[in-house]
Amino acid sequence: MSAASTIQTSATLQHRSGWRRIGLLPALILLLLASMTLGASIGAVAVPPEAIGAILLKKIGILIDVPVSTQQEAIFWTIRLPRVLLGMLVGAALAVSGALLQGVFRNPLADPGLIGVSSGAALGAVAVIVLGISSFGLMTLPLAAFLAGAATTFLVYRLAQRHGRTDVATLLLVGLALNALAGATTGLLTYLADDAQLRSIVFWTMGGLGGALWETLLIAAPWIGLALLVAPRLGQALNLFALGESEARHLGIDVERVKRAVVLLAALATGTAVALAGPIGFIGLIVPHIVRMIAGPDHRLLLPACALGGASLLVLADLLARTMAAPAEIPVGLITAFAGGPFFLALILRARRQYGWG
């Protein structure tokens, strides 16, 4: 990248440093709280916000005068709350992974699928379904998905490494190749699957938060939480990455360490998310774009904002998924793709107008 674009980048950073940057995080926190309240209260059984308040207060021993049925209480504790919390974690994990990878690849099209974690996880999940493995009970599938996703990412990273250095373009191409391999193996297993297994595979591939239990949540929270806490620390380094890899190196950034950290964090967060909720598309792609459009490309702000935005978006998408055809449920992956597809198209067309492509 040239010096001219460097100046432009910092100019953009400054240009956006007004109220949008200051107000963004508080606004997103409010949005997340509102989404969570909506998500927890709307559904086949309504649990109005005041009932949620009463249920929560009752848990800590304070009784208030709001009528709450035992059914509402059971639904809130066993289904809604775990589900909203899982949606929050998964949404945040996907959006932050997307932002991290877009930063390190310096490519707005990068998403967590690129480094093989999604296709690897899909392979693990489909293998468990088709081979009928159930050694770890309910946790077998998430565990296999996570391990296969992590292993694929590790392989992508190792294959792209040469003399201790990772070329981002090679990483991309190796990811592409391994994605194809994992996809082909998944296809082979799908071909061997019987009718019932086929249906399980199809539903898994569409993603969903319906399986949220406190147990799954407790397993997911530490990994995703760790990734979300560490990610913002890479913000400054990724800002310098935007200037180009060698420029970043000259500015004193240990680029290999940053790349390794990004791949590791994205694999951890996305792997856990996909393992528990299936592949949910487009969150990792569109949330960083929306945030950049509002507040500019500063990663120090982008990363936490993506966590909050991704969490809100997925909780809201899941709300749609389970209310549109209640009492049955639409896979949430379909909702995000339906919303994400047109959005992404609009984004491309806008960019084309702006930069005079094509």
Binding site: G43, R80, D194, F203, G211, P327, A328
Partner: protein, 361 residues
Amino acid sequence: MTPWRRNRRLPAAGRWLRRMFLGCSLTCAALLTACGTPSSSGGAPPAATSVPASSSLPAPAPASLPSLIESVPGEAEPQLPANVVDYQGEQVTIASIERIVSLNGDITEIIFALGMGDYVVGVDSSATYPPERTKTLPNIGYQRRLSAEGILALNPTLVIGDETAGPPEALAQIRAAGVPLAITADPPTLDAPALKIRFVAQALGIPQRGERLAVQVEAEIARARDLANRITNPPHVLFLYLRGTDVQQVAGLRTPIDVMITAAGGLNAGAEAGIVDFKPLSPEVVIAAQPDVILVLTKGLESVGGVDGLLTIPGLADTPAGKQRRIIAHDDLYLLGMGPRTGQALAELAQEFYEIAAQEK
């Protein structure tokens, strides 16, 4: 209409009976009227081809009717709380059957056959029988992709199903919400209907009634197998699971349909060709199998555009079944549900196989 096909209307009569059961003043005459009413039959659609009905087995005596379980004094009220041991060996206690959500089509059919259909408040999308009732009940989605929230929203006092119900996470959520969840085993054998009937009846607190229905169904299955045993040159039957042109599979060994074909006096051509479970259909398999008749599900046949569409599948037109256009189509739940109509389905299949065998001679 053969007398035996008319039987498939029975749940309508069963409802009448239930009212009688509950003390309504319904006379036997009214019952007979109910049986004779040409109400819509929701059972298996008739076979798709014209298998000539000339040389047929002696028409079986009208099978005993699952829902016509006569009341025995003192047994009218369900005995609650009921205890039942589920397929994983866990004991489940059911205090009330006021609001039942049934997770699978076969279980729904059993509840209705036991005359307890009025307590059902929700069914899954595989529940198609009895059609006039299942269509109007709230739908909780597909049996393998259930959502706990949709089920709990119906405020059930009992959630009941067989082991195909899932995903396990949804079942875990229902259990966690404190709703009694009774899941029965569903082995892929002809023991399944009676086993499931006894389980459901036990869970609903009407074990004696369940016992009588189970014995009836077992007797019907035994009678159908007697019919099947008269087939001396069993036809080769190829079962195709079809969903449009994308999903076309052949049933081999270890499938529920293999059990049905064999029990009805046919040879499963898929299994003969060395297939285990369901495998994708290929012209080689078809040629190796050389079926005398092709068995499909009604929805599957519709999905490929009827018999003509089916025969465009490579290889099929050149088999004996294809040349003679011998294709039998039955409803999913009727043929494969292993529910209370299993005996009837078997008898009908045996009849069809017998006719084909007679032609082949």
